[in-house]
């Protein structure tokens, strides 16, 4: 597979996932709708980071920066939410 074909393949996959995301949004699944849509978003982002941003061919340092950037934001959001979502429980 040439690199052009690979990039076009990634683009097709991202577009297919967009269709999936839009399609599932119209199926009533309650709160799972948002979970599915955001999970699909992560899959799309992963494709973009790996191939369009060339993480697949990057060295260790750049991979580390990418992973740590993602890890930190998840950690910050996760810990902040742990605080916010449990405030009421502790207060009562």
């Amino acid at each position: 597979m040439t690199s052009v074909m690979r990039l076009i393949g990634v683009w097709l996959a991202v577009i297919a996932l967009l269709g999936l995301s839009l399609g599932t949004a119209y199926i009533p699944m309650g709160r799972f709708n948002s979970i599915v849509c955001v999970t699909i978003g992560f899959a799309q982002a992963l494709l973009v980071w790996t191939f369009f941003m060339r993480l697949r061919w990057s060295g260790l340092l750049i991979r580390l920066i990418a992973v740590i950037g993602l890890l930190w934001i998840l950690l910050l959001l996760g810990l902040s939410l742990t605080d916010y979502l449990t405030r009421h429980t502790i207060a009562s």
Binding site: V38, Q44, G59, G69, L85
Partner: protein, 209 residues
Amino acid sequence: MSASAEAAGRRANDSDSEVGLWIFLASEVMFFGLLLYGYTITRINHPQAFAEASAQTDVLLGSINCFVIFTSSLTMALAARSLRLGAQQASLRLLGATWALGLLFLAIKCYEYHDDIDKHLVPWGQFAFHGPLAAGERMFFFMYFVMTGAHAIHMTVGLGILAVMLVGVARGTYTQRNSEAVELAALYWALVDTVWIFLYPILYLVHRS
């Protein structure tokens, strides 16, 4: 591999400028992450209002814009690849296509804003919702305008960078041997694309079923 790169324990393909740009991109993730946190907290407090307000966004235009920006990411990645391989003319055409797609994205977004204003969805000023959930619906559209606005500013900056790349490649400043600037522009452009990947489901697809 140079001695300094060797000492830093990295492979030769991680150039200093690329590493620097990645650090900048990680800080951008923090910026948009904070907006995401604000969105999450407000949505937890006003789930019903967010569902109803989100249904007022234009899902067709939002989805078309997804297609436009994803395609622009492809042409940008191909433009960087072409230059890397020495295909100057192909790179120039692909950069031009990326620029045009970026402009199309902003044009559609502006048209959408115009519609939103017409429908009185702007949270400051006269607001379309008056029911018991109006406070939460106001918050949704506040987040909507701040997040899409911050993204649009990034797109505008990206168009500026792309314009410089276009001139550079056309004049022969950026060539196969000096393609790094275009590579870095492609990284920035892909990150702005990624931001939209996440904004789309949380703003347009909250409650469609």
